[in-house]
Protein backbone atom coordinates (compact mmCIF):
# COMPACT_ATOMS: atom_id res chain seq x y z
CA UNK A 1 0.00 0.00 0.00
CA UNK A 2 2.74 2.44 0.93
CA UNK A 3 4.27 2.43 -2.55
CA UNK A 4 0.90 3.49 -3.89
CA UNK A 5 1.33 6.70 -1.91
CA UNK A 6 4.57 7.46 -3.77
CA UNK A 7 2.93 6.69 -7.09
CA UNK A 8 -0.08 8.81 -6.13
CA UNK A 9 2.18 11.78 -5.34
CA UNK A 10 4.07 11.26 -8.61
CA UNK A 11 0.83 11.14 -10.57
CA UNK A 12 -0.45 14.28 -8.86
CA UNK A 13 2.76 16.15 -9.66
CA UNK A 14 2.66 15.04 -13.30
CA UNK A 15 -0.96 16.12 -13.62
CA UNK A 16 -0.25 19.42 -11.86
CA UNK A 17 2.37 20.51 -14.43
CA UNK A 18 0.55 19.02 -17.38
CA UNK A 19 2.33 21.04 -20.05
CA UNK A 20 5.83 20.04 -19.04
CA UNK A 21 4.72 16.43 -18.80
CA UNK A 22 3.26 16.53 -22.30
CA UNK A 23 6.34 18.21 -23.76
CA UNK A 24 8.76 15.75 -22.23
CA UNK A 25 6.57 12.81 -23.21
CA UNK A 26 6.40 14.08 -26.78
CA UNK A 27 10.17 14.39 -26.82
CA UNK A 28 10.51 10.71 -26.03
CA UNK A 29 7.67 9.82 -28.41
CA UNK A 30 9.31 11.62 -31.32
CA UNK A 31 12.58 9.90 -30.57
CA UNK A 32 10.94 6.49 -30.58
CA UNK A 33 8.85 7.31 -33.67
CA UNK A 34 11.85 8.41 -35.69
CA UNK A 35 13.84 5.49 -34.47
CA UNK A 36 11.15 3.08 -35.64
CA UNK A 37 10.81 4.79 -39.02
CA UNK A 38 14.50 5.24 -39.82
CA UNK A 39 15.41 1.84 -38.52
CA UNK A 40 12.64 0.24 -40.61
CA UNK A 41 13.85 2.13 -43.65
CA UNK A 42 17.50 1.33 -43.10
CA UNK A 43 17.12 -2.34 -42.40
CA UNK A 44 14.39 -2.61 -45.05
CA UNK A 45 16.60 -1.15 -47.74
CA UNK A 46 19.53 -3.23 -46.56
CA UNK A 47 17.51 -6.43 -46.80
CA UNK A 48 16.11 -5.35 -50.15
CA UNK A 49 19.58 -4.65 -51.46
CA UNK A 50 21.01 -7.91 -50.16
CA UNK A 51 18.08 -9.77 -51.65
CA UNK A 52 18.80 -8.19 -55.02
CA UNK A 53 22.44 -9.13 -54.76
CA UNK A 54 21.49 -12.69 -53.92
CA UNK A 55 18.83 -12.99 -56.59
CA UNK A 56 20.67 -11.40 -59.46
CA UNK A 57 23.86 -13.36 -59.15
CA UNK A 58 24.96 -16.81 -58.03
CA UNK A 59 26.00 -17.16 -54.42
CA UNK A 60 29.37 -18.53 -55.40
CA UNK A 61 31.27 -18.27 -58.67
CA UNK A 62 34.29 -20.41 -59.45
CA UNK A 63 36.47 -18.71 -62.06
CA UNK A 64 39.19 -20.12 -64.26
CA UNK A 65 41.72 -17.82 -62.63
CA UNK A 66 44.17 -18.01 -59.78
CA UNK A 67 44.56 -15.48 -57.07
CA UNK A 68 48.34 -15.52 -57.26
CA UNK A 69 50.69 -16.27 -60.09
CA UNK A 70 52.17 -19.77 -59.97
CA UNK A 71 55.55 -19.62 -58.17
CA UNK A 72 58.67 -20.50 -60.09
CA UNK A 73 60.23 -23.82 -59.02
CA UNK A 74 63.37 -22.08 -57.83
CA UNK A 75 61.37 -20.19 -55.20
CA UNK A 76 59.82 -23.43 -54.01
CA UNK A 77 63.23 -25.08 -53.82
CA UNK A 78 64.76 -22.28 -51.74
CA UNK A 79 61.93 -20.75 -49.78
CA UNK A 80 64.35 -18.92 -47.44
CA UNK A 81 67.00 -18.22 -50.07
CA UNK A 82 67.97 -14.88 -51.54
CA UNK A 83 66.70 -15.82 -54.97
CA UNK A 84 65.83 -13.36 -57.65
CA UNK A 85 64.54 -14.25 -61.07
CA UNK A 86 63.78 -11.71 -63.74
CA UNK A 87 62.32 -11.71 -67.24
CA UNK A 88 60.46 -14.95 -66.76
CA UNK A 89 57.53 -15.57 -69.04
CA UNK A 90 54.51 -17.15 -67.35
CA UNK A 91 53.56 -20.54 -68.72
CA UNK A 92 50.75 -20.46 -71.25
CA UNK A 93 47.89 -22.69 -70.38
CA UNK A 94 44.51 -23.43 -71.80
CA UNK A 95 41.97 -21.25 -70.04
CA UNK A 96 38.94 -22.92 -68.53
CA UNK A 97 38.05 -24.99 -65.54
CA UNK A 98 39.49 -28.47 -65.78
CA UNK A 99 37.06 -31.33 -65.70
CA UNK A 100 34.16 -29.04 -64.96
CA UNK A 101 31.41 -31.58 -65.56
CA UNK A 102 32.76 -33.83 -62.79
CA UNK A 103 32.91 -30.84 -60.46
CA UNK A 104 29.33 -29.89 -61.32
CA UNK A 105 28.18 -33.43 -60.68
CA UNK A 106 29.91 -33.52 -57.33
CA UNK A 107 28.48 -30.15 -56.26
CA UNK A 108 24.99 -31.04 -57.41
CA UNK A 109 24.96 -34.07 -55.15
CA UNK A 110 24.90 -31.77 -52.09
CA UNK A 111 21.35 -31.06 -50.92
CA UNK A 112 19.99 -27.66 -51.92
CA UNK A 113 22.92 -26.92 -54.23
CA UNK A 114 22.47 -25.91 -57.84
CA UNK A 115 25.67 -25.76 -59.86
CA UNK A 116 26.00 -24.74 -63.48
CA UNK A 117 28.93 -24.64 -65.86
CA UNK A 118 29.00 -21.43 -67.87
CA UNK A 119 31.19 -19.77 -70.42
CA UNK A 120 31.41 -16.02 -70.44
CA UNK A 121 33.03 -13.75 -72.94
CA UNK A 122 32.36 -10.77 -75.10
CA UNK A 123 31.02 -10.40 -78.60
CA UNK A 124 29.54 -7.81 -80.88
CA UNK A 125 25.87 -8.01 -81.67
CA UNK A 126 25.18 -6.47 -85.05
CA UNK A 127 21.82 -5.68 -86.58
CA UNK A 128 20.78 -3.27 -89.30
CA UNK A 129 24.35 -1.92 -89.50
CA UNK A 130 24.39 -1.01 -85.80
CA UNK A 131 26.82 -2.59 -83.36
CA UNK A 132 26.54 -3.20 -79.66
CA UNK A 133 29.26 -4.77 -77.62
CA UNK A 134 27.76 -7.39 -75.37
CA UNK A 135 28.75 -9.68 -72.58
CA UNK A 136 27.97 -13.21 -73.59
CA UNK A 137 26.93 -15.87 -71.12
CA UNK A 138 26.68 -19.43 -72.29
CA UNK A 139 24.40 -21.10 -69.79
CA UNK A 140 22.12 -24.00 -69.04
CA UNK A 141 18.57 -22.56 -69.03
CA UNK A 142 17.26 -25.30 -66.71
CA UNK A 143 19.67 -24.21 -64.02
CA UNK A 144 19.97 -20.53 -64.81
CA UNK A 145 16.39 -19.84 -63.84
CA UNK A 146 17.18 -21.01 -60.29
CA UNK A 147 20.52 -19.22 -60.12
CA UNK A 148 19.36 -15.73 -60.99
CA UNK A 149 16.12 -13.83 -61.41
CA UNK A 150 16.61 -13.44 -65.13
CA UNK A 151 13.78 -15.82 -66.00
CA UNK A 152 11.28 -13.83 -63.93
CA UNK A 153 12.43 -10.65 -65.65
CA UNK A 154 11.60 -11.92 -69.13
CA UNK A 155 9.31 -9.55 -70.98
CA UNK A 156 8.90 -11.68 -74.08
CA UNK A 157 9.91 -15.24 -74.87
CA UNK A 158 11.82 -17.21 -72.27
CA UNK A 159 15.18 -18.68 -71.45
CA UNK A 160 13.73 -22.12 -72.00
CA UNK A 161 13.17 -21.35 -75.67
CA UNK A 162 16.95 -21.39 -76.05
CA UNK A 163 16.67 -25.16 -75.81
CA UNK A 164 14.16 -25.54 -78.60
CA UNK A 165 15.37 -22.88 -80.99
CA UNK A 166 18.51 -23.51 -82.95
CA UNK A 167 21.12 -20.83 -82.31
CA UNK A 168 18.90 -18.75 -80.09
CA UNK A 169 19.93 -15.68 -78.13
CA UNK A 170 18.25 -13.82 -75.29
CA UNK A 171 18.97 -10.10 -75.00
CA UNK A 172 17.91 -7.21 -72.79
CA UNK A 173 15.25 -4.74 -73.73
CA UNK A 174 17.77 -1.91 -73.73
CA UNK A 175 19.87 -3.64 -76.38
CA UNK A 176 16.73 -4.49 -78.31
CA UNK A 177 15.77 -0.81 -78.43
CA UNK A 178 19.25 0.36 -79.37
CA UNK A 179 19.53 -2.04 -82.25
CA UNK A 180 15.89 -2.10 -83.26
CA UNK A 181 16.23 -5.82 -82.79
CA UNK A 182 12.94 -7.48 -81.87
CA UNK A 183 11.68 -10.94 -81.09
CA UNK A 184 12.43 -13.60 -83.70
CA UNK A 185 14.77 -11.28 -85.62
CA UNK A 186 18.09 -12.68 -86.74
CA UNK A 187 21.10 -10.85 -85.31
CA UNK A 188 24.68 -11.23 -86.41
CA UNK A 189 27.00 -12.06 -83.53
CA UNK A 190 30.74 -11.60 -84.05
CA UNK A 191 33.23 -12.95 -81.53
CA UNK A 192 36.85 -11.84 -80.93
CA UNK A 193 37.84 -15.28 -82.23
CA UNK A 194 36.54 -14.13 -85.59
CA UNK A 195 33.57 -16.39 -85.72
CA UNK A 196 30.36 -14.93 -87.11
CA UNK A 197 27.01 -16.52 -86.39
CA UNK A 198 23.44 -15.61 -87.16
CA UNK A 199 21.36 -15.98 -84.03
CA UNK A 200 17.64 -15.69 -83.48
CA UNK A 201 16.26 -13.56 -80.64
CA UNK A 202 14.08 -15.87 -78.55
CA UNK A 203 13.64 -13.73 -75.46
CA UNK A 204 13.80 -10.19 -74.12
CA UNK A 205 14.46 -9.40 -70.49
CA UNK A 206 14.16 -6.26 -68.44
CA UNK A 207 15.89 -6.09 -65.06
CA UNK A 208 15.83 -2.35 -64.50
CA UNK A 209 19.63 -2.26 -64.39
CA UNK A 210 20.63 -0.11 -67.37
CA UNK A 211 24.09 -1.58 -68.02
CA UNK A 212 22.78 -5.07 -67.79
CA UNK A 213 19.75 -4.52 -70.00
CA UNK A 214 21.86 -2.93 -72.73
CA UNK A 215 24.91 -5.10 -72.54
CA UNK A 216 24.16 -8.69 -71.68
CA UNK A 217 23.13 -11.61 -73.85
CA UNK A 218 22.41 -15.25 -73.00
CA UNK A 219 22.78 -18.32 -75.13
CA UNK A 220 23.26 -22.04 -74.66
CA UNK A 221 26.64 -23.11 -73.34
CA UNK A 222 27.42 -25.07 -76.50
CA UNK A 223 26.55 -22.09 -78.73
CA UNK A 224 28.86 -19.90 -76.70
CA UNK A 225 31.61 -22.50 -76.95
CA UNK A 226 31.30 -22.46 -80.71
CA UNK A 227 31.05 -18.69 -80.93
CA UNK A 228 34.04 -18.06 -78.70
CA UNK A 229 35.96 -20.95 -80.21
CA UNK A 230 36.41 -22.74 -76.90
CA UNK A 231 34.98 -26.19 -77.46
CA UNK A 232 34.09 -28.15 -74.30
CA UNK A 233 35.36 -25.34 -72.14
CA UNK A 234 33.58 -23.63 -69.26
CA UNK A 235 35.26 -20.75 -67.46
CA UNK A 236 32.70 -20.33 -64.67
CA UNK A 237 30.99 -22.60 -62.24
CA UNK A 238 27.99 -20.76 -60.85
CA UNK A 239 26.60 -22.12 -57.62
CA UNK A 240 23.49 -21.43 -55.56
CA UNK A 241 23.39 -22.86 -52.05
CA UNK A 242 20.63 -23.34 -49.50
CA UNK A 243 21.98 -20.90 -46.91
CA UNK A 244 23.51 -17.79 -48.50
CA UNK A 245 25.30 -16.93 -45.26
CA UNK A 246 27.47 -20.02 -45.71
CA UNK A 247 28.74 -18.81 -49.08
CA UNK A 248 32.01 -17.38 -47.76
CA UNK A 249 33.01 -20.58 -45.97
CA UNK A 250 32.07 -22.82 -48.84
CA UNK A 251 33.85 -20.59 -51.33
CA UNK A 252 37.00 -20.79 -49.24
CA UNK A 253 36.76 -24.59 -49.09
CA UNK A 254 36.28 -24.90 -52.84
CA UNK A 255 39.16 -22.57 -53.53
CA UNK A 256 41.53 -24.46 -51.30
CA UNK A 257 40.50 -27.74 -52.91
CA UNK A 258 40.55 -26.77 -56.57
CA UNK A 259 42.89 -23.82 -56.57
CA UNK A 260 40.60 -21.73 -58.75
CA UNK A 261 39.65 -18.30 -57.65
CA UNK A 262 36.24 -18.77 -56.01
CA UNK A 263 34.19 -15.70 -55.14
CA UNK A 264 31.30 -15.62 -52.74
CA UNK A 265 28.62 -12.97 -53.13
CA UNK A 266 29.93 -11.34 -49.97
CA UNK A 267 33.39 -10.99 -51.49
CA UNK A 268 32.04 -9.53 -54.72
CA UNK A 269 29.87 -7.05 -52.84
CA UNK A 270 32.30 -6.29 -50.03
CA UNK A 271 32.08 -2.55 -50.71
CA UNK A 272 28.29 -2.48 -50.51
CA UNK A 273 28.19 -4.59 -47.36
CA UNK A 274 30.82 -2.33 -45.84
CA UNK A 275 28.67 0.64 -46.73
CA UNK A 276 25.76 -0.87 -44.81
CA UNK A 277 27.84 -1.04 -41.66
CA UNK A 278 28.79 2.63 -41.96
CA UNK A 279 25.22 3.55 -42.79
CA UNK A 280 23.91 1.73 -39.74
CA UNK A 281 26.43 3.45 -37.51
CA UNK A 282 25.33 6.83 -38.86
CA UNK A 283 21.65 6.00 -38.46
CA UNK A 284 21.91 4.74 -34.94
CA UNK A 285 24.10 7.59 -33.80
CA UNK A 286 21.63 10.14 -35.12
CA UNK A 287 18.68 8.36 -33.56
CA UNK A 288 20.72 7.90 -30.41
CA UNK A 289 21.30 11.66 -30.38
CA UNK A 290 17.55 12.27 -30.67
CA UNK A 291 16.95 9.95 -27.73
CA UNK A 292 19.74 11.62 -25.77
CA UNK A 293 18.12 15.01 -26.32
CA UNK A 294 14.80 13.59 -25.14
CA UNK A 295 16.53 12.10 -22.11
CA UNK A 296 18.16 15.44 -21.31
CA UNK A 297 14.70 16.98 -21.51
CA UNK A 298 13.42 14.55 -18.91
CA UNK A 299 16.52 15.06 -16.78
CA UNK A 300 16.10 18.82 -16.98
CA UNK A 301 12.43 18.79 -16.08
CA UNK A 302 12.75 16.35 -13.21
CA UNK A 303 15.80 18.18 -11.86
CA UNK A 304 13.82 21.41 -11.92
CA UNK A 305 10.89 19.73 -10.26
CA UNK A 306 13.12 18.32 -7.55
CA UNK A 307 14.50 21.82 -6.93
CA UNK A 308 11.01 23.30 -6.81
CA UNK A 309 9.69 20.50 -4.64
CA UNK A 310 12.34 20.67 -1.96
CA UNK A 311 9.76 21.88 0.56
CA UNK A 312 7.41 19.02 -0.26
CA UNK A 313 10.30 16.58 -0.03
CA UNK A 314 11.27 18.02 3.35
CA UNK A 315 7.77 17.73 4.80
CA UNK A 316 7.29 14.23 3.42
CA UNK A 317 10.55 13.21 5.06
CA UNK A 318 9.66 14.80 8.38
CA UNK A 319 6.28 13.10 8.10
CA UNK A 320 8.13 9.79 8.02
CA UNK A 321 8.63 9.03 4.31
CA UNK A 322 11.85 7.13 3.75
CA UNK A 323 14.52 8.26 1.29
CA UNK A 324 13.51 5.39 -0.99
CA UNK A 325 9.88 6.59 -1.01
CA UNK A 326 11.04 10.01 -2.11
CA UNK A 327 13.26 8.55 -4.80
CA UNK A 328 10.33 6.52 -6.09
CA UNK A 329 8.15 9.59 -6.41
CA UNK A 330 10.49 11.05 -9.00
CA UNK A 331 11.57 7.81 -10.60
CA UNK A 332 7.93 6.93 -11.24
CA UNK A 333 7.56 10.19 -13.13
CA UNK A 334 10.44 9.24 -15.40
CA UNK A 335 9.02 5.77 -15.90
CA UNK A 336 5.63 7.24 -16.71
CA UNK A 337 7.11 9.62 -19.27
CA UNK A 338 9.16 6.76 -20.70
CA UNK A 339 6.24 4.33 -20.98
CA UNK A 340 3.74 6.82 -22.39
CA UNK A 341 6.44 8.23 -24.69
CA UNK A 342 7.21 4.72 -25.88
CA UNK A 343 3.59 3.89 -26.69
CA UNK A 344 3.00 7.26 -28.33
CA UNK A 345 6.28 6.81 -30.21
CA UNK A 346 5.10 3.48 -31.56
CA UNK A 347 1.97 5.19 -32.86
CA UNK A 348 4.07 7.96 -34.44
CA UNK A 349 6.33 5.30 -35.92
CA UNK A 350 3.37 3.49 -37.46
CA UNK A 351 2.07 6.71 -38.98
CA UNK A 352 5.54 7.57 -40.34
CA UNK A 353 5.83 4.09 -41.84
CA UNK A 354 2.46 4.49 -43.53
CA UNK A 355 3.60 7.81 -44.99
CA UNK A 356 6.95 6.45 -46.09
CA UNK A 357 5.36 3.44 -47.74
CA UNK A 358 3.56 5.74 -50.19
CA UNK A 359 6.77 7.47 -51.26
CA UNK A 360 8.08 6.37 -54.65
CA UNK A 361 11.72 6.72 -55.57
CA UNK A 362 13.89 6.21 -58.62
CA UNK A 363 17.26 4.72 -57.87
CA UNK A 364 20.04 6.10 -60.08
CA UNK A 365 21.11 3.44 -62.58
CA UNK A 366 17.70 1.80 -62.39
CA UNK A 367 14.91 2.71 -64.74
CA UNK A 368 11.88 1.84 -62.65
CA UNK A 369 10.34 3.70 -59.74
CA UNK A 370 9.75 1.65 -56.66
CA UNK A 371 8.32 2.05 -53.20
CA UNK A 372 10.70 2.57 -50.32
CA UNK A 373 11.63 -0.80 -48.93
CA UNK A 374 10.52 -0.88 -45.30
CA UNK A 375 10.99 -3.54 -42.73
CA UNK A 376 8.11 -3.56 -40.27
CA UNK A 377 9.54 -5.85 -37.67
CA UNK A 378 8.91 -6.11 -33.97
CA UNK A 379 12.63 -5.55 -33.59
CA UNK A 380 12.44 -1.83 -34.42
CA UNK A 381 9.55 -1.31 -32.03
CA UNK A 382 11.18 -3.35 -29.32
CA UNK A 383 14.56 -1.68 -29.50
CA UNK A 384 13.05 1.80 -29.85
CA UNK A 385 10.81 1.22 -26.85
CA UNK A 386 13.56 -0.26 -24.74
CA UNK A 387 15.84 2.63 -25.62
CA UNK A 388 13.15 5.12 -24.56
CA UNK A 389 12.45 3.35 -21.29
CA UNK A 390 16.09 3.03 -20.33
CA UNK A 391 16.95 6.63 -21.19
CA UNK A 392 13.86 7.98 -19.40
CA UNK A 393 14.57 5.95 -16.27
CA UNK A 394 18.26 6.87 -16.31
CA UNK A 395 17.37 10.54 -16.81
CA UNK A 396 14.95 10.46 -13.88
CA UNK A 397 17.14 8.36 -11.65
CA UNK A 398 19.84 10.98 -11.14
CA UNK A 399 17.56 13.81 -9.91
CA UNK A 400 15.41 11.28 -8.03
CA UNK A 401 18.46 10.18 -6.12
CA UNK A 402 19.32 13.77 -5.41
CA UNK A 403 15.81 14.29 -4.08
CA UNK A 404 16.23 11.38 -1.68
CA UNK A 405 19.37 13.04 -0.29
CA UNK A 406 17.63 16.27 0.66
CA UNK A 407 18.15 17.09 4.33
CA UNK A 408 14.79 18.26 5.65
CA UNK A 409 16.33 20.42 8.36
CA UNK A 410 18.10 22.60 5.77
CA UNK A 411 14.80 23.32 4.04
CA UNK A 412 12.60 23.77 7.10
CA UNK A 413 15.10 26.13 8.71
CA UNK A 414 15.12 28.34 5.62
CA UNK A 415 11.43 28.27 4.76
CA UNK A 416 9.75 30.93 6.81
Amino acid sequence: MFWRVSIGIAAAQLAYRRRQTIVSTLGVALGVGFFVATSALMSGSEKDMVQRLLDNAPHITVKDEFRTAAPQPVFMAFPQGAVSLSNTKPREYLRGIKNHSAKIEELSRQPGVIAEAALTGTAIVRYASKDVSAGIAGIDPEKERFLTTIESNMQQGSLMRLKTASQGIVIGQGMSERLGLGMDDLATVVSPAGIVRRMKVVGLFHTGNLLFDEGQAYMLLKDAQVLLDKPFIANRIRIKIADPDMAEDIAAQLESRWGYRTESWQEVNRDILGLFVIRNIITYSIVGAIMAVAAFGIFNIISTVVMEKRRDIAILMSMGFRAADIQWIFLVQGIFVGVIGMVLGWAIGLVLLEMLSTVEITVPGMMDTQNLPLERGLFQFGVGGLFALISAIAAAWIPARKASQVRPVDIIRGAA
Binding site: M1, I9, L316, D325, I412, A415, A416
Partner: protein, 233 residues
Protein backbone atom coordinates in the same frame (compact mmCIF):
# COMPACT_ATOMS: atom_id res chain seq x y z
CA UNK B 1 5.42 23.67 40.44
CA UNK B 2 3.70 20.33 40.33
CA UNK B 3 5.62 17.10 40.26
CA UNK B 4 5.61 15.57 36.78
CA UNK B 5 3.65 12.38 36.26
CA UNK B 6 3.35 9.81 33.47
CA UNK B 7 6.11 7.94 31.65
CA UNK B 8 8.76 9.86 29.70
CA UNK B 9 7.82 10.27 26.03
CA UNK B 10 10.92 12.07 24.85
CA UNK B 11 14.17 12.34 26.65
CA UNK B 12 17.47 14.03 25.85
CA UNK B 13 20.59 12.90 27.71
CA UNK B 14 23.65 15.11 27.40
CA UNK B 15 22.79 16.08 23.85
CA UNK B 16 25.24 18.29 22.00
CA UNK B 17 24.93 19.28 18.38
CA UNK B 18 27.86 20.96 16.69
CA UNK B 19 27.54 22.15 13.11
CA UNK B 20 30.72 21.06 11.35
CA UNK B 21 31.68 24.13 9.38
CA UNK B 22 34.98 25.89 8.70
CA UNK B 23 34.57 27.07 12.27
CA UNK B 24 32.49 24.50 14.19
CA UNK B 25 29.26 26.11 15.38
CA UNK B 26 27.66 24.62 18.49
CA UNK B 27 23.87 24.68 18.12
CA UNK B 28 22.94 23.12 21.46
CA UNK B 29 25.17 21.93 24.28
CA UNK B 30 24.75 19.39 27.07
CA UNK B 31 20.97 19.32 27.01
CA UNK B 32 19.21 17.09 29.52
CA UNK B 33 15.44 17.17 29.15
CA UNK B 34 12.58 14.81 29.94
CA UNK B 35 9.08 15.40 28.61
CA UNK B 36 6.41 13.12 30.05
CA UNK B 37 3.08 12.02 28.67
CA UNK B 38 0.48 14.77 28.65
CA UNK B 39 2.91 17.64 29.14
CA UNK B 40 2.63 20.88 27.18
CA UNK B 41 6.06 22.44 27.00
CA UNK B 42 6.93 25.73 25.36
CA UNK B 43 10.52 26.34 24.31
CA UNK B 44 11.63 29.95 24.22
CA UNK B 45 14.82 31.87 23.83
CA UNK B 46 16.40 34.62 21.79
CA UNK B 47 17.14 34.15 18.09
CA UNK B 48 20.01 31.73 17.56
CA UNK B 49 19.67 30.24 21.01
CA UNK B 50 19.07 26.79 19.53
CA UNK B 51 15.30 26.43 20.02
CA UNK B 52 14.61 25.06 16.56
CA UNK B 53 17.76 22.95 16.60
CA UNK B 54 16.55 21.37 19.82
CA UNK B 55 13.19 20.61 18.26
CA UNK B 56 14.79 18.99 15.18
CA UNK B 57 16.88 16.81 17.48
CA UNK B 58 13.76 15.82 19.42
CA UNK B 59 12.00 15.09 16.13
CA UNK B 60 14.85 12.90 14.80
CA UNK B 61 15.23 15.22 11.83
CA UNK B 62 18.72 16.06 12.99
CA UNK B 63 21.19 13.81 14.79
CA UNK B 64 23.18 14.85 17.85
CA UNK B 65 26.96 15.09 17.68
CA UNK B 66 27.00 13.39 21.07
CA UNK B 67 24.41 12.32 23.62
CA UNK B 68 21.25 10.25 23.44
CA UNK B 69 17.74 10.94 22.15
CA UNK B 70 15.12 8.58 23.56
CA UNK B 71 11.65 8.35 22.04
CA UNK B 72 9.06 6.34 23.97
CA UNK B 73 11.87 4.88 26.07
CA UNK B 74 13.85 3.73 23.03
CA UNK B 75 17.41 5.03 22.57
CA UNK B 76 17.68 6.05 18.93
CA UNK B 77 21.45 6.21 18.84
CA UNK B 78 22.78 4.42 15.76
CA UNK B 79 19.37 3.95 14.15
CA UNK B 80 19.29 3.85 10.35
CA UNK B 81 17.58 6.72 8.48
CA UNK B 82 14.75 4.36 7.51
CA UNK B 83 14.19 3.35 11.13
CA UNK B 84 14.15 6.99 12.21
CA UNK B 85 11.62 7.69 9.44
CA UNK B 86 9.42 4.88 10.74
CA UNK B 87 9.48 6.42 14.24
CA UNK B 88 8.63 9.85 12.83
CA UNK B 89 5.78 8.33 10.86
CA UNK B 90 4.06 6.55 13.73
CA UNK B 91 5.10 8.43 16.88
CA UNK B 92 5.81 12.05 15.98
CA UNK B 93 3.74 14.82 14.46
CA UNK B 94 5.24 18.04 13.14
CA UNK B 95 3.82 21.52 12.71
CA UNK B 96 6.14 24.12 11.23
CA UNK B 97 6.00 27.87 10.84
CA UNK B 98 5.32 27.32 7.13
CA UNK B 99 2.38 25.00 6.51
CA UNK B 100 4.21 22.76 3.96
CA UNK B 101 1.00 21.43 2.44
CA UNK B 102 1.40 19.69 -0.92
CA UNK B 103 -0.14 22.04 -3.51
CA UNK B 104 -1.29 19.26 -5.85
CA UNK B 105 -3.49 17.58 -3.27
CA UNK B 106 -6.79 18.48 -1.68
CA UNK B 107 -6.88 19.47 1.96
CA UNK B 108 -8.30 16.06 2.90
CA UNK B 109 -5.64 14.22 0.91
CA UNK B 110 -2.93 16.25 2.63
CA UNK B 111 -4.29 15.26 6.02
CA UNK B 112 -4.58 11.57 5.14
CA UNK B 113 -1.11 11.30 3.55
CA UNK B 114 0.69 10.10 6.72
CA UNK B 115 -2.06 7.54 7.33
CA UNK B 116 -1.81 6.27 3.77
CA UNK B 117 1.95 5.94 4.15
CA UNK B 118 1.61 4.12 7.47
CA UNK B 119 -1.09 1.86 6.03
CA UNK B 120 -2.46 0.82 9.42
CA UNK B 121 -6.06 1.65 8.55
CA UNK B 122 -8.02 0.76 5.44
CA UNK B 123 -8.89 3.47 2.96
CA UNK B 124 -12.42 3.99 4.22
CA UNK B 125 -11.29 4.40 7.83
CA UNK B 126 -8.52 6.76 6.70
CA UNK B 127 -11.03 8.90 4.87
CA UNK B 128 -13.34 9.01 7.89
CA UNK B 129 -10.54 9.87 10.29
CA UNK B 130 -9.32 12.61 7.95
CA UNK B 131 -12.80 14.15 7.81
CA UNK B 132 -13.25 13.96 11.58
CA UNK B 133 -9.87 15.64 12.15
CA UNK B 134 -10.87 18.45 9.79
CA UNK B 135 -14.20 18.71 11.59
CA UNK B 136 -12.36 19.02 14.92
CA UNK B 137 -10.68 22.17 13.58
CA UNK B 138 -13.82 23.53 11.94
CA UNK B 139 -12.59 23.18 8.38
CA UNK B 140 -14.50 20.09 7.23
CA UNK B 141 -16.20 22.21 4.56
CA UNK B 142 -12.78 22.95 3.03
CA UNK B 143 -11.89 19.27 2.55
CA UNK B 144 -12.16 19.23 -1.23
CA UNK B 145 -10.30 22.51 -1.77
CA UNK B 146 -6.65 22.86 -2.59
CA UNK B 147 -4.31 24.50 -0.05
CA UNK B 148 -3.88 27.67 -2.14
CA UNK B 149 -7.63 28.32 -1.84
CA UNK B 150 -7.40 28.52 1.96
CA UNK B 151 -6.46 31.36 4.29
CA UNK B 152 -3.21 31.24 6.25
CA UNK B 153 -4.97 30.27 9.47
CA UNK B 154 -6.96 27.54 7.76
CA UNK B 155 -3.80 26.13 6.20
CA UNK B 156 -2.08 25.98 9.55
CA UNK B 157 -5.08 24.16 11.01
CA UNK B 158 -4.83 21.65 8.16
CA UNK B 159 -1.15 21.25 9.02
CA UNK B 160 -2.07 20.53 12.67
CA UNK B 161 -4.71 18.03 11.55
CA UNK B 162 -2.08 16.34 9.39
CA UNK B 163 0.35 16.20 12.34
CA UNK B 164 -2.34 14.42 14.36
CA UNK B 165 -3.39 11.98 11.67
CA UNK B 166 -1.32 8.99 12.86
CA UNK B 167 -2.25 9.73 16.49
CA UNK B 168 1.36 10.54 17.48
CA UNK B 169 2.81 10.31 20.98
CA UNK B 170 4.02 13.90 20.76
CA UNK B 171 3.34 16.97 18.65
CA UNK B 172 6.43 18.99 17.81
CA UNK B 173 5.67 22.53 16.74
CA UNK B 174 8.19 25.03 15.41
CA UNK B 175 6.81 28.57 15.61
CA UNK B 176 3.33 27.40 14.60
CA UNK B 177 1.92 30.93 14.93
CA UNK B 178 4.92 32.67 13.45
CA UNK B 179 3.40 33.30 10.04
CA UNK B 180 -0.11 34.19 11.18
CA UNK B 181 -1.95 37.41 11.87
CA UNK B 182 -3.22 38.14 15.35
CA UNK B 183 -6.65 36.56 14.95
CA UNK B 184 -5.44 33.35 13.30
CA UNK B 185 -2.56 33.20 15.73
CA UNK B 186 -5.06 33.17 18.59
CA UNK B 187 -7.10 30.43 16.95
CA UNK B 188 -4.06 28.20 16.48
CA UNK B 189 -2.86 28.96 19.98
CA UNK B 190 -6.31 27.93 21.25
CA UNK B 191 -6.04 24.70 19.33
CA UNK B 192 -2.74 23.84 20.98
CA UNK B 193 -4.08 24.68 24.40
CA UNK B 194 -7.04 22.42 23.75
CA UNK B 195 -4.87 19.58 22.43
CA UNK B 196 -2.90 19.68 25.65
CA UNK B 197 -5.63 20.38 28.19
CA UNK B 198 -8.66 18.51 26.85
CA UNK B 199 -7.15 15.73 24.77
CA UNK B 200 -4.19 15.24 27.09
CA UNK B 201 -1.69 15.25 24.21
CA UNK B 202 2.01 15.77 24.68
CA UNK B 203 3.04 18.98 22.94
CA UNK B 204 6.43 20.63 22.59
CA UNK B 205 6.20 24.03 20.92
CA UNK B 206 9.03 26.36 20.03
CA UNK B 207 7.86 29.97 20.01
CA UNK B 208 8.94 33.53 20.50
CA UNK B 209 5.33 34.55 21.13
CA UNK B 210 5.14 35.35 24.87
CA UNK B 211 1.38 34.81 25.04
CA UNK B 212 1.70 31.42 23.46
CA UNK B 213 4.63 30.51 25.68
CA UNK B 214 2.73 31.54 28.77
CA UNK B 215 -0.26 29.40 27.80
CA UNK B 216 1.92 26.32 28.35
CA UNK B 217 2.23 24.91 31.88
CA UNK B 218 5.94 24.32 31.42
CA UNK B 219 8.50 26.57 29.80
CA UNK B 220 12.06 25.73 28.80
CA UNK B 221 14.19 28.79 28.14
CA UNK B 222 17.34 28.47 26.09
CA UNK B 223 20.28 30.81 25.97
CA UNK B 224 23.32 30.10 23.77
CA UNK B 225 22.34 26.51 23.24
CA UNK B 226 21.94 25.66 26.91
CA UNK B 227 18.87 25.37 29.09
CA UNK B 228 18.81 28.56 31.11
CA UNK B 229 15.61 27.79 32.96
CA UNK B 230 12.97 25.03 33.10
CA UNK B 231 9.90 26.30 34.90
CA UNK B 232 6.55 24.72 35.69
CA UNK B 233 3.55 26.75 36.57
Amino acid sequence: MTAPEGEPIVELRGVTRILQDAVPVPLVRDIDLVVRRGEFVSVTGPSGSGKSSLLYLLGLLDRPTSGHVLIDGEDTVGFSPDRLAAIRLSKLGFVFQFHFLLPEFTVLHNVTLPMLRLGRLDEKAIHERGMSLLADFGIADQAKKRPDQLSGGQRQRVAVARALSNDPLVILADEPTGNLDMRNSEIVQGIFAELAAKQGRTVIAVTHDTDFANSAPRNVHLVDGRIASDTRR
